[in-house]
């Protein structure tokens, strides 16, 4: 990886960059095709950075800048958590934290016909997939995956939803499991759905568990692995888990996109990579 960038004095891969930095000197790579991801722009011979973030590279030839912000920019293929605002004849109007409300066609459900249109009232939380996201237009959503199956999309009942930044969502969805989820999952049993738009939904049998998980996740974005685990330990101590009941542990990482099994946890990475993992985190005490 570094050898390719021998032309530039310091390789900026995995470094923090700010707008105006030159990511790569393209004159040294004239016979290669590289793919540029978000926040990178070609200015003649120079690859300049448009947003502050971490400069990332993945083989064979993809470069992008990963930044974290509270705003969400809709992108086709993302799985997000939306809140239904209104329902029209043909669409539900859904807020996905983007610049415009998104449309969810009433038929975009598995086995959806005019007869069994789901009744979503205002304020319903749904897990949806972004189908189309063109600039200037309202994004389009769907509650099915690309092949038409339900795949865990749809309404999320009970639980608690909180908003944070897109960087946190990506961290929660990364593989291997991020430390905070790992540490929490070892001791607590909960369900979690992470939207790439910065929204996270947590559900568990007892409210105290939900609160501990939610607070742990909210505070973990800028912590290192050790700090995350330490924080989770403290939270769990406060919770006094000595009397928690036993449940089964299942971990099924897959590299293909599958419909759900037991509890839900959809993971999707950034727009450069598309893999999804399924996760159930449960207790062992």
């Amino acid at each position: 990886m570094e050898n390719k960038l021998s032309g530039s004095p310091t390789s900026l891969v995995d470094q923090f960059v700010i707008p105006g930095d030159e990511g790569l000197d393209l004159s040294t790579m004239s016979n290669q095709t590289i793919k540029l991801g978000s926040s990178l722009r070609q200015d003649g011979d120079v690859l300049s950075v448009m947003k502050a973030g971490t400069f990332k590279f993945s083989k064979p030839n993809k470069y992008w800048v990963e930044s974290s912000q509270k705003r969400y920019e809709p992108h086709a293929g993302d799985s997000v958590l939306g809140i239904v605002v209104d329902s029209k004849a043909d669409n539900f109007l859904v807020d996905i934290k983007g610049p415009a409300l998104a449309f969810l066609p009433v038929l975009a459900f598995e086995g959806g016909t005019r007869r069994n249109i789901p009744k979503f009232e205002a304020g319903t939380l749904i897990y949806v997939r972004v189908v189309k996201a063109n600039p200037g237009m309202n994004p389009e959503l769907s509650c099915t995956d690309a092949s038409g199956k339900a795949a865990e999309f749809g309404q999320l009942k009970d639980g608690f939803m909180f908003e944070s930044s897109t960087g946190l969502s990506r961290m929660l969805l990364s593989s291997p499991t991020c430390p905070v989820l790992d540490a929490l999952g070892k001791k607590l049993s909960f369900e979690i759905a992470v939207g790439l738009n910065g929204r996270v939904w947590v559900n568990a049998t007892s409210p105290s568990t939900v609160i501990v998980v939610a607070n742990g996740i909210m505070n973990s974005e800028f912590k290192s692995e050790v700090q995350q685990r330490g924080m989770v330990e403290k939270l769990l101590q406060n919770l006094k888990l000595s009397s928690q009941s036993f449940s089964y542990t299942y971990m099924i990482p897959t590299s293909t996109f599958i419909g759900c099994l037991l509890l839900t946890n959809f993971l999707q990475l950034t727009n450069m990579k598309q893999t999804s993992l399924m996760f159930s985190l449960q207790l062992d005490n």
């Binding site: 807020d95 983007g98 409300l101 304020g123 009970d158 608690f160 609160i211 406060n238």
Partner: protein
């Protein structure tokens, strides 16, 4: 229009249900118990009269300014206190710039009522010229981040800002005594406002389940709650104001319980505010004192004039006994420690006297004005004579702070002022050239002078 729709913060049915379910088991979503306040942090800026308060995620800033205006016709002897609130759009997507919304007006009104009706701020002391000229104090509240419970946070910010605000001192002058002269802060120390007590606002949120009450609601809880009540009390458990605008009906017993709890919280918050203000004040005073060694030249003349004045005062107590004590207390360090028991020689008595004067000058508002009072050349010489020896000790004593102010004043043997002029002038010039000196530097000249002065003391 649609963009605005997209940007509003929305509440889902899941959250509403969850918050209420959790409250049944006395759990709040940020892990607090129902009657816990969030962490309060109070910060001040270099400007006097501005405070920034963080209550969890809620950020509020308060600024206090004052202007001379005409009083109201029906209250010619009282100054005025007015409150302006600004809900900045960066605090919440639903805040819009321009005219204050209903919530903004209500917030300003609740805080204003707490301060005005309870007469916490003494408005009569703000009167300069009855019927013509009074101070109008204006408090500007800026909401920077809405994390819930803006009223309480804004109230604390307003109180902290009012406590640290200093208004310029003004006096009546002119030919007919009717002109108001406002003295700039460099000339005369500005005065604090007189605040009798601190009314603290405590907000309660009621939920649809009748007996569920929480204190200090967060943003989420405010969206879900059925009603709210703000009680403003002071640390003595006097109720200054209560505000319950609409919302669910609440049992009388619940209200009484809330008031009891509010009393305890008000006491806690009052101590927090007072501690923060005190540490800010000491820090500010220290800053002022450190400035003085660089302005020694001015002080010399000032102290000199004071010495002249004090010569006319009866020579107090410590006469010859102090001289004998000199031999036992030689080191500067000892002197600095105990200004009263120390330095009982001719020079050192002068030291103390001048230090006392200087300290009086530094410490607080003084009635003596170095710029307006003329400097008598005789007194100046006299002061220089005594001053030269005393400057080093004075400097270190300055840095000690106010604890020595005033104590040295009585120690004044007038007859020793005109001692060894030459010695003193020499040492004085030395001192003048060395701007900031440390304790050690100060010690050396003193020792030298001791050798010289011993023959003089034996005179």
């Amino acid at each position: 229009m649609e963009t605005r729709l997209a940007n509003i913060w929305r509440l889902t049915v899941n959250e509403k249900k969850f918050i209420e379910t959790a409250l049944q088991s006395d759990l709040r979503i940020d892990g607090r118990r129902p009657f816990d306040f969030r962490n309060i942090s109070i910060k001040f800026s270099r400007e006097e009269g501005s405070a920034e308060v963080q209550l969890g995620q809620t950020h509020v800033m308060a600024f206090v300014t004052a202007q001379l205006t005409q009083p109201y016709k029906d209250r010619p002897n009282e100054g005025t206190l007015s409150m302006f609130t600004e809900f900045s759009p960066m605090a919440d997507p639903s805040f819009e710039p321009g005219r204050p919304s209903e919530a903004a007006v209500e917030l300003g009104r609740v805080i204003d009522r707490g301060l005005r009706e309870s007469r916490a701020v003494d408005t009569e002391s703000l009167c300069v010229l009855s019927g013509k000229s009074v101070w109008a104090v204006r408090v500007d509240l800026h909401i920077l981040d809405n994390g819930g419970n803006l009223v309480d946070a804004a109230n604390i910010a307003a109180l902290a800002a009012l406590l640290t605000f200093r208004r310029p001192e003004c006096s009546l002058g002119g030919e007919d005594g009717q002109q108001v002269i406002v003295h700039p802060p460099e000339v005369r120390e500005p005065l604090p406002l007189i605040i009798h007590h601190l009314p603290i606002a405590v907000t309660f949120a009621f939920f649809s389940n009748e007996s569920t009450v929480v204190i200090d609601p967060t943003h989420y809880e405010e969206a879900v709650m059925g009603g709210r009540m703000t009680a403003t009390l002071n640390a003595n458990n006097d109720i200054c104001a209560i505000q319950k605008a609409g919302g669910e009906g609440v049992l009388q017993s619940v209200i009484m319980q809330c008031l009891r709890i509010a009393g305890q919280k008000a006491y806690d918050i009052t101590t927090k505010i007072k501690n923060a203000v005190e540490s800010y004040n000491t820090e500010r005073a220290l800053r002022k004192i450190k400035r003085h060694p660089s302005s020694v030249a001015l002080d010399i003349s000032g102290a000199g004039v004071n010495i002249g004045k004090s010569q006319n005062k009866p020579v107090p107590q410590k006469g010859d006994s102090e001289r004998s004590n000199l031999t036992s207390e030689k080191s500067m360090a000892d002197q600095s420690m105990d200004i009263e028991g120390e330095a009982k020689s001719s020079e050192q008595q002068q030291t103390n006297k001048i230090d006392g004067d200087a300290k009086n000058f530094i410490g607080g508002p003084s009635s003596w004005d170095p710029y307006s009072a003329g400097v008598n050349s005789d007194f100046l010489k006299a002061s220089l004579a005594s001053r030269g020896k005393t400057l080093p000790s004075r400097k270190e004593q300055d840095s000690r702070g106010e604890n020595m102010s005033g104590e040295a004043k009585p120690v004044e043997p007038p007859e020793d002022i005109n001692v060894s002029l030459s010695n003193i002038e020499a040492s004085e010039t030395v001192l003048r050239t060395n701007g900031e000196k440390t304790l050690k530097d100060a010690v050396k000249p003193k020792n030298k002078r001791k050798m010289k002065s011993s023959p003089t003391s034996e005179r």
